[in-house]
Amino acid sequence: MAKSFEEYCREVFDVKKIFDKPEVFKGYSCISATQYILGPSCANYFAELGMETIKVELPRRGEPMRHTTPYNEPFLYPLSKQMPDKGTGLGFFGANHNEYFLAVDFHKPEGVEIMHRLQAKADVQAENYRPGTFDRWGIGYRQAAKINPRMVYIWMGGFGGWGPGRVRASYDILGQAQGGTFSVTGFPGPGHGHPALGLPSKHTIWLADYWGGMMGCFAGLAALWWRDNVSGTGEFIEYSQVHGATRHLESTLPIYGRHGVVRQRWGNWDSEMCVHGIVQCGKPSYPNSKIMLELEPGQILISASDDDQFAKLCQTVPNLKALAQKYAKHQARIQPAAQTEIYTAMEEWAKDKTKEEVWQIMEKADINSQPVWSNKECSQQEHFQLRDELHWLDDPYFGDVLSQGLPFHLSETPARHRWVFKPVGADNEYILQKYCGYGLDQIRELEKNDVI
């Protein structure tokens, strides 16, 4: 073993060699008849692993996320003059990488025929229309399974296709609200012994959507493995977003079921480990910034929950010295009143410090800590760039785009990003020729009749 472990890892996970390596799903294809984030992200994860993923949108307007963007300000415009002079909202960003874009109106019989021809060749179909809609239109699982019994069909949506709530519409935060994740996130209400108060809070990312897509994708990957190695047959998978949210509740349901105790919120501290919480610092890191957010004082996680680490922390933070004996044991410091005392003492100490100053002190004392970073601060880290978890992508349509990379690294068959997305119907000709056997005349005819 001549190489150090670090060198070895840098070599096997070298992001510059990603395109020198094979893809997991070469030659597989996936239909993404999806909109918003839940369904699109699921299909997107397959596209990252090498599946030719065909995003099917309604002609011209495309899916709603193309028109969704923060404050209605940033839109990506194609570089080419040939493309329609229309921007795409950043809501579309992050859930449609690598895909091929086909515009089809499935309400027309010619559109249904196109879908059937695609389904005959597809390995996966991801779909998130209201339950039963595709079935009614003749392009749902029951029809697709007759055309192609090997297809893995993943339906994803709010409440699922059966049961009392099946007709209810859903979005990401409805999943978060109804599944219970709001109820355990944020600062508590009065009477729980926590000095800062607040309301149940949402996760300010479309968590139930993007993570739900992952759960759908995992089930799909398992189904493909089962098909190719065991059964030879396809599968129907149903994923409900509100259901997914309950999976995050950890001990909440077991404890409620046994003891009738309803879990509440505990802000930025931890109900099960102490010290293991976010400490408010007194000083902003960028006092001269023109960005209002950067004028807020910083915050930092300090984590020293084992008894020996806590002892070390007490030596590092003078304000904790008086508490070192009293709270030497974890069982003593985990109590709500103890946590309040400990964190208050630390915040008092951090009053005249920036988060970087506290970080430096903790690093020096070999105590785990991590400042709360904005996306700007994250993107300045060499670490994430080296690992390709954040990168500038030279997109063929939109030029240089800062984009997220991949969450997992595979040494032999890494996932990869080629482009962020394309305009509506950008690949009509390629897909219709390749999968549907249509020639130029038929494609022009379909265009004329507003089918594509």
């Binding site: 960003f93 995992f218 149903e238 909440t252």
Partner: protein, 471 residues
């Protein structure tokens, strides 16, 4: 507030309110409208999972991860789908077993055989898994692991970067013993690179270093500050991406190469992957995504609003829903509807996104909500097919009729732990669905069975290993 002791609250058997029957659920629907949901129900109902095969029962997973949930979460994805997951714990058990809210021992769960107490968090993730003990700090323990790896498909670990490698049981060494092994390291930021994990860096390190905490919570003007998730969200999402990476590697191994590979998944990168449009936006104009509380930067209406008895979510990003929402409000408060629909600044969908427009929208909306409970508002809005639903707490989640009917919340009567309420796998499937077969295992409960089955150890050999502290 007076302290509430366990036993003070009468605990009703679950479900306290009976689950609706199919006839109640589909009452009043035409036969045609009933056909699809009733058909679907027969295909994927949770009651029938025991009759169906499992997808991954040919796979064996060694989950060596301890102290965090990220590895346990990843192995849960496999155990739910039928893989044999063996938790390899240090003698004395994974320290995560001891975690319980505010140190409350009375909220821990005891099994009927050993009486060992385990926290709800560990129990909930200990689904369909076996537990053996193995002292990896001893050379003898590591020899045992090497033997176990011979016939394993997946190994998941989260020890400090390079620790397993230094011990001679890293990917470099184990892949020589079993080239088919898929070896996965999980952590918060990685086992290589300038910000690689220090020993035992837990979840919120990931949440803080990916921009998640910074963007969550209310704006300062509303009295808010950056807020972490109430659960270990980086562990959950990073564990899921680990499972995806492993499953992709298995697909490649068994269809193409016959070889395993080295997989790495981290909580920070997992959230960075899914943190909406943050990077694209920053790349365009240097924007830092601000906190926006329970509202949304990119969709209006799409928020959780305060109402008479809590909070309620309402979403409707396009015109069709926008006007339905205000029509609903207008039935009680015509002046509020008029105020919004006649405002020229709110005429067009995309004009409703700037800050002032959202403040206008939600303050007007709140005026209506203050006279409505969650249920009243939900009923009125759903009559107009608007997506809406109350923010619900554990008791309401457990009793939500839809969840009970579909098995989103289930009670298992475990052989060891008795009745435990839990959230099962969120996916359902027609032919080979995931399922929960048991929940929880005392530390080393399966030592005898696993060591005897896989190594052929006799009773006295096991006893001597135990005495030496190897298992």
């Amino acid at each position: 507030m007076a302290e509430i002791k366990s036993g003070d609250i009468p605990v009703l058997p679950w479900p306290a309110v009976p689950t609706p029957t199919p006839d109640e659920v589909y009452k009043g629907l035409s036969e045609a409208a009933q056909e699809y949901p009733r058909w679907l129900e027969t295909q994927v109902h949770w009651r029938d999972v025991g009759k169906k095969p499992e997808k991954l029962n040919r796979l064996r997973v060694l989950d060596c991860s301890i102290r965090m949930n990220i590895g346990h979460w990843a192995s849960s994805c496999f155990s739910e789908h039928g893989a044999e997951v063996i938790m390899v714990e240090p003698p004395g058990g994974d320290p995560t077993r001891k975690l319980t809210p505010f140190g409350r021992q009375e909220y821990m769960f005891k099994d009927s055989e050993t009486g060992e107490a385990v926290g709800g968090k560990f129990l909930h993730e200990c689904r369909n898994k076996l537990s053996i003990t193995m002292n990896l700090e001893s050379a003898e323990g590591r020899e045992l692991l090497k033997k176990l790896v011979v016939d394993a498909d997946i190994l998941i670990e989260n020890y400090p970067p390079g620790q397993f490698d230094a011990w001679g049981i890293g990917y470099r060494q184990l892949s020589e013993i079993n080239p088919r092994l898929v070896y996965c390291w999980v952590g918060q930021r990685g086992q290589w690179g300038p910000l690689k994990d220090r020993p035992w860096m837990y979840d919120p390190v990931g949440q803080n270093s990916c921009g998640f905490t910074h963007g969550t919570g209310a704006p300062a003007a509303f009295g808010g500050r950056p807020t972490r998730s109430g659960f270990w969200v980086c562990d959950h999402v990073g564990g899921t991406t680990a499972a995806m990476g492993i499953m992709a590697a298995l697909n490649y191994r068994d269809r193409v190469s016959g070889r395993g590979q080295f997989v790495e998944s981290t909580g920070a990168a997992a959230i960075m992957r899914i943190i909406d449009y943050n990077w694209g936006w920053q790349g365009m104009d240097g924007s830092i995504r601000p906190r926006f509380g329970n509202w949304d930067l990119a969709i209006n209406i799409y928020a959780v609003n305060p109402c008479k008895d809590g909070q309620i979510m309402v979403g409707g990003g396009h015109d069709r829903l926008w006007f339905r929402i205000w029509k609903t409000v207008g039935k009680d408060r015509p002046e509020l509807e008029q105020h919004i629909v006649e405002d020229p600044q709110l005429k067009v969908v995309v004009d409703r996104l700037p800050y002032y427009a959202q403040v206008e929208t939600y303050t007007t909306f709140a005026d209506w909500f203050k006279d409505n409970t969650r249920l009243e508002a939900e009923t009125k809005l759903q009559a107009e097919e608007v997506a809406s639903g109350g923010v619900t707490f554990a008791d309401e989640v457990a009793e939500f009729p839809h969840f009970k009917y579909r098995g989103h919340v289930l009670e298992i009567n475990d052989v060891l732990y008795g009745k435990v309420l839990h959230a099962p796998a969120p996916q359902t499937a027609q032919k080979a669905p995931p399922r929960i077969k048991w929940l929880g295992r005392p530390t080393g409960y399966d030592n005898e069975e696993v060591y005897r089955r896989i190594f052929g150890f006799k009773k006295d050999e096991l006893d001597s290993l135990k005495k030496k502290g190897v298992i």
